[in-house]
Symmetry: C2
Subunit: 188 residues, 2 copies
């Protein structure tokens, strides 16, 4: 999904500013769709307004800079609804942790232990974050999505804790970087 659709999705829940949209996409409810930065959000909102899918109004604030509040238009809402109707693309999962795991022998026990510890902490954080959203009594659909995420996090957490010793053993089996048991070119 692109930033344009992300903006429409967030605006369909209520009016906000570009600044808020970025926060939502980085650590809010929308962090599993696109990780957009200012440099992409502001131009996207400008184009969306030029296309008539959103409208904006300026609001002065005491002490703080002016806010530019965007609202979705009927056309915008229709375009977003239409985009929901076409079949969703494959989920994307990319993991540098799994790369380290896959090359555990090359990385060595120290790096693998660090990677497992880091990943475990991140998964726990993610799970706790989803739990806190779920506790705030969001809409039924948001809650459904949160619980899906929690189930996934707990599944991978369980595998990690139950199998970390095995990965450590694999890593210890051939501590490369000091001594390299791999042939220079295996498929020669």
């Amino acid at each position: 999904m692109n930033v344009r659709t992300l903006c429409l999705a967030i605006l369909s829940r209520g009016d906000t500013t570009g600044y808020e949209i970025r926060k939502q996409s980085v650590d809010g409810r929308f962090s599993h769709f696109v990780d957009a930065s200012f440099g992409s959000i502001y131009p996207a909102l400008a184009r969306l307004e030029a296309d008539g899918l959103v409208t904006s109004r300026q609001e002065a604030q005491a002490g703080k800079p002016d806010r530019k509040i965007y609202s979705i238009s009927e056309t915008g809402r229709a375009e977003f609804a239409a985009s929901l109707l076409q079949p969703p693309r494959q989920d994307i999962f990319r993991s540098e942790f799994l790369l380290v795991a896959m090359f555990a022998e090359l990385a060595g026990p120290a790096a693998v232990a660090r990677a497992i510890a880091l990943r475990t902490k991140q998964i726990e954080q993610e799970r706790n974050h989803l739990m806190s959203i779920s506790d705030e009594k969001p809409s039924a659909s948001v809650d459904w999505v949160c619980r899906y995420g929690i189930a996934c996090m707990e599944g991978s957490l369980a595998y990690l804790t139950n199998n970390k010793e095995r990965l450590m053993a694999i890593a210890a089996g051939a501590d490369t970087l000091t001594e390299t048991p791999l042939e220079t070119s295996a498929a020669e």
Copy 2:
């Protein structure tokens, strides 16, 4: 991770061609790292060779076009090993399916049902694919990664089957597109 590192990772397992690297990154063991296309792999390999991290040799084939077989050099192997030592970045998970789920009321029961069916099928395919790799008796670390993936797939599959009726009920609660119970601007 970028295509450059992907190429080093694959070449560290043995010599291959750009064509094979793409296949590996699209549906092979490396599909959870980067989804690279020819347009990025061939230039990456050329730069890698210019930097002295890989070497290549041409091989003529009867009937088929020539193959350019790349081998990783000691320098290349060292650079890849070094990249494994720095702490892995956060896993990335992006799901258009979850976007549809999050806006189930707006999408309506038909689109939600289609999305669930599609996602279920994709997860099953992914799980079966990982199982077939695991059955081929790969190296211990590859097997560890496969089983991790299988555990994740089975976790989300379980949630999906156990909770799809609830999501369908949410979607049915307000079948938008025909009648729209949402206010034009909620946060006005």
